[in-house]
Symmetry: C2
Subunit: 443 residues, 2 copies
């Protein structure tokens, strides 16, 4: 009986295990994870902190027992110390039993994920400074906020997690200060739409500082301030959400090739350069479908797809994962933002000649009470008129429209193939010209 | 100076006028309409009756004065009696001034729309029996419901308008009875999804009878009952929503070729068979993009697109409208339905070999309070695996996902091009596998 070992028990690892089981009912499958929780929805963590989800276990899609029922063995609190690709074995430290042992594999999937980046700054280990990546983090944050009731909550980094935390931190009735090193918030979108969101958040009482550099943290028994190049900012709580780094050291030490951002390089079949070793999820790279270039955009959706692909292939099947568009979406209070493909900044850095359509209309028929603002920005190649990217900002119902553009970009559509598309209309859902069509018709 | 005459002042007519003006600033443009209102949102009429829109004039997108400011002359209450394609003139009856006159055209656009079909049944002219197509109808219905306070409201026809009327008639705290001649409600969808909606509406207290034939109406000074082959049904109010017929008689009498359902036949440029005469909107046919066949699916969205195309071409430009997928959407209380492309019934009648994917999942991450049920049904060609159609039913946020499938079908995509698409995910918007991707992965 062949043996599949998987390192990592969250999105990519558990997707791989499930798909491998469906592909080969006889495969021996063991998952090793150094975490106490498995198969949890990392993207739900901000909502748990905001008390929108009563119990942390609601974030767990499936339990160890449920996997066991599928004949998938999950070993929690087991840290993998070494991969020996010659011997086809891994060395494991059982953190609970204080026992080091080795296990043999026929196929190995590395799904070790990523960890939050914490800049090496003075005072970064003070109590009250947190990162948010797993259930343990979220429990600690919720506990701290409830017990300490800090008056000043500082979020460092205005990407998806930083922004999603705003509505959840508002639950704690404290001052919220959002700090971003880039010239504007949500740096993976363009400045024009980011400015609309910036003004909205400011009107909601969120204090925002951009172009700011963090120099360190002050406090003795706990954090009391953030030192920046714009002066010291009072802080009783700090969330560091400035991005993640791939957990690729174990792979690197085993001679596995790394790519951009030091993430594990895997091909369309999720194979690494070493035989019978696959990788999937936030620890590995993928391909940007428009440019064809290797990229590192760790996302839960991609981790699931890569995991599924790795699991199928490791179990003897044949699957491919071609890459991503960098689609993203977030709700921030009653605004929604989304993006896919390339931004203006991307086009400029890639020397792509592009045209822009930038419109503002309504999410629903103007006479409907639920109708709200929506901004749609589209980018197309100047010569071929192929759609390159889209960004949306608006009220309820706005942002998921990005999927129409993601579909069109996936299928390499030109503006002219799309302008008269038969999209769904009824007054509660759209104006008679859907905002996406309005934007397409502006080119 | 060239002269463009347009017959019809709603979606297609006024879109044509606006686009013609933008295409040629010097064109002389006159719109004749026999209605007292122009440029109104017909699809909003149910919501006006439901008191969700306080004033009827909120449904009017632009006024006669606003069009006049663009140098577009609109003549209301003017009925066109005859088109003389030899003399290039039309004969008009000014219903207000009781004056018959003729006008010359260089280009003519026929956008006469459609009228509700009223079966020739005994008693169909009794007070209390209504159709809903224009603002006058909606004012009459609202007035009747408010004054008469009927206890039994019968809707005949369970298509989009009949279904959208349910939530609006519920405002009047009366018994609602929905009658449908077909074996199931929403006959342009398949029976399986229709059954889910049927059960939902029944649970909400709506009485539904299908497979029913209307034989006539009883009452003397006003309607008191509907005679059917399932017995007589008490009725203090009846809405006839059993479809529309194109207003194509004027065109037919002028020698203009008619197509399916006696609608005016126009090509991709919206030209009829007679020189310099165009047609657009609910009076004319279009092409079903999947089958390439002529079809008659009158919709506000299509009317706008056809109007825009006719206006551009009539003004000397060059535009094409290729056709439709038959996309539709409706909200019924807190459920949403949508469809695009072919249904199983369509495939069967066209002898297309197809495969079905039919899934049920959640609109958002299961631990989010806003997460609700969603059903997605997809059809693909058995051999080519090209996507042929989609149907969706679910709670808030479900139905607009149909646009992803409409985009994919427009671009003639196969299932395999779509299964790993980078669609947007964040817990309030979707499970980590978007319902559309779940359905695609089931093939």
């Amino acid at each position: 009986m062949k043996k599949l070992l998987i390192i990592g028990g969250v999105a990519a690892g558990m997707s791989a295990a499930s798909k491998a089981r469906r592909t080969d009912p006889n495969l021996h499958i063991t998952v090793y994870t150094d975490e106490p929780y498995i198969s949890y929805a990392g993207c739900g963590l901000p909502y748990f902190i905001g008390n929108n989800i009563p119990r942390a276990d609601q974030l767990v899609a499936r339990s160890v027992e449920q996997f066991a029922a599928q004949n998938i063995q999950v070993r929690k609190s087991c840290q993998v110390l070494e991969i020996n690709s010659q011997a086809k074995s891994i060395l494991i430290n059982d953190l609970a039993a204080h026992n080091i042992f080795s296990d043999h594999y026929d196929r190995l999937i590395i799904a070790t994920g990523a960890r939050p980046y914490v800049p090496p700054l003075e005072g970064n280990d003070l109590p009250g400074i947190f990162v948010l990546r797993n259930i343990t983090h979220s429990l600690a944050i919720r506990d701290f906020l409830q017990k300490e009731k800090p008056a000043d909550l500082v979020i460092i980094g205005a990407g998806y997690i930083g922004l999603e935390m705003i509505e959840n931190l508002l639950e704690y009735n404290a001052r919220i200060i959002l700090l971003e090193r880039s010239p504007h918030i949500i740096p993976n979108m363009d400045e024009d739409l980011a400015a609309v969101l910036h003004n909205y958040l400011t009107a909601k009482g969120v204090e925002i500082r951009t172009n700011i550099n963090i120099l360190g943290f002050t406090g003795t028994d706990k954090v009391i301030g953030v030192k920046t190049d714009q002066g010291e900012i009072k802080a009783g709580f700090v969330l560091m959400s400035v991005g993640v780094v791939p957990n690729s050291e174990l792979a690197g030490q085993a001679g596995i090739e790394l790519g951009v951002r030091n993430a594990i390089r895997a091909n369309e079949r999720m194979e690494t350069n070493l035989p019978d070793i696959y990788s999937a999820g936030d620890c590995c790279t993928t391909t940007q479908l428009i440019t064809g270039r290797e990229t590192y955009i760790p996302m839960g959706t991609t981790a699931n797809k890569q995991g599924k692909t790795a699991g199928e292939n490791a179990a003897g099947g044949s699957a491919f994962f071609k890459g991503v568009l960098g689609t993203g979406i977030a709700r921030i209070l009653d605004k929604e933002i989304s993006r896919t493909g390339l931004t203006e900044k991307d086009c400029q850095s890639l020397n792509i000649e592009y045209r822009v359509s930038n419109i503002k209309t309504r999410t629903a028929a103007p006479y409907c009470s639920i109708s709200g603002e929506i901004y749609v920005k589209l980018l197309a190649d100047k010569n071929s008129r192929r759609l390159l990217g889209a960004q949306i900002l608006g009220s309820s119902g706005a942002a998921k429209r990005i999927d129409v553009m993601a579909t069109a970009i996936t299928l390499q559509a030109t503006i002219d193939q799309l302008i008269d598309m038969d999209l769904a209309y009824s007054p509660p859902f759209s104006p008679v010209w859907d905002p996406v069509l309005v934007a397409l018709n502006q080119f």
